[in-house]
């Protein structure tokens, strides 16, 4: 039993079919619990007031926006090195999800920034990096749409993903250099240090993060299965035309 067995589309489809309902229920459960807890049962922050409730969507969305790109990078590398079609299709399936998460992080950030910093948008390094990340997602999705041959499209987008990752990292660094920011540092990892995230926010935030992760995995599986079927359908239709 090895991980590579899941590169077989049939095996992947069977496993996905078994996992999907479980994951969907878990994702929905975690999201509902975390968001309801975060929205209704957390105290206001003494500085930020009720806006702190935005934390529970802003932080998980931002985390998963970056992690989704990381997953696409790994999947692209697997495709380019080992030529497993499922891997390429998983990368394709993940891109719109990552793009949506990036958009959510940007929009909730704007709603949060408006009362806190007095502006919808600030050319802060973190905000700017996310805007650039959004552009990378846009280009990646557009390239998938534009190339007709599926294998060529998978190769080209995989290459773009790798080169894009390098440049996204460079941009992150360049943007930091270009402007110091208003955005506060991440407080999740600051347990035991000064100015930590309060315990009252910690638990619902972790549940929300788990919810976003589960939602991402479930959606990637669902969309990958869809992509595999689209391929199969295309083969069948081509055969029909020939017959």
């Amino acid at each position: 039993m090895s991980l590579w067995e899941y590169a077989n589309p049939k095996k992947f489809m069977e496993t996905a079919a078994r996992l999907l309902p479980v994951l969907a229920v878990l994702a929905a459960g975690a999201l509902v619990t975390g968001l309801v807890w975060g929205f209704f049962f957390t105290p206001d922050d003494y500085k930020q007031g009720a806006t702190v409730k935005i934390l529970f969507i802003h932080v998980p969305a931002a985390m998963m926006a970056v992690n989704a790109w990381g997953m696409m990078l790994v999947a692209s590398l697997i495709w380019l090195i080992r030529r497993h079609h499922v891997s390429a299709l998983a990368a394709k399936a993940a891109a719109p999800i990552g793009m949506t998460f990036t958009l959510i992080a940007l929009i909730t950030g704007a709603f949060w920034g408006q009362p806190m910093w007095g502006t919808w948008w600030e050319w802060d390094p973190r905000l700017t990096s996310f805007l650039i990340l959004f552009l990378f997602y846009l280009g990646y999705v557009a390239l998938w749409e534009a190339v007709e041959n599926p294998d060529t499209a998978a190769d080209l987008t995989g290459l773009l993903c790798i080169v894009g990752s390098v440049f996204a990292g460079l941009s992150r660094y360049a943007v930091k250099f270009w402007n110091q920011g208003l955005h506060q540092d991440s407080t999740i990892m600051k347990v035991g240090e000064k100015d930590p995230l309060d315990v009252a926010y910690y638990v619902p935030l972790l549940i929300c993060i788990a919810g976003f992760v589960l939602l991402f995995v479930a959606l990637v599986l669902l969309r990958t299965v869809t992509e595999i079927r689209v391929r199969r359908l295309a083969v069948l239709q081509a055969r029909e035309r020939l017959a």
Binding site: I54, T100, F111, W112, P115, L215, T226
Partner: protein, 50 residues
């Protein structure tokens, strides 16, 4: 039941609203396409199996 959001009600509510809207849209789109493709494939396989 509704928590006191004070002067930040607009920001918080619209954040939650937009997020839920976007996520619901993404899920609905994915599920809809899943169902459509599945049906089309079953039909094609039936025709091919004949």
């Amino acid at each position: 039941m509704m928590p006191e959001l004070g002067k930040y009600a607009g920001a918080v509510l619209s954040s939650y609203g937009v997020t839920l809207g976007l996520l619901a849209g993404l899920v609905a789109l994915s599920v809809w396409r899943y169902g459509r493709v599945k049906r089309a494939l079953t039909e094609a396989e039936k025709r091919a199996g004949r």
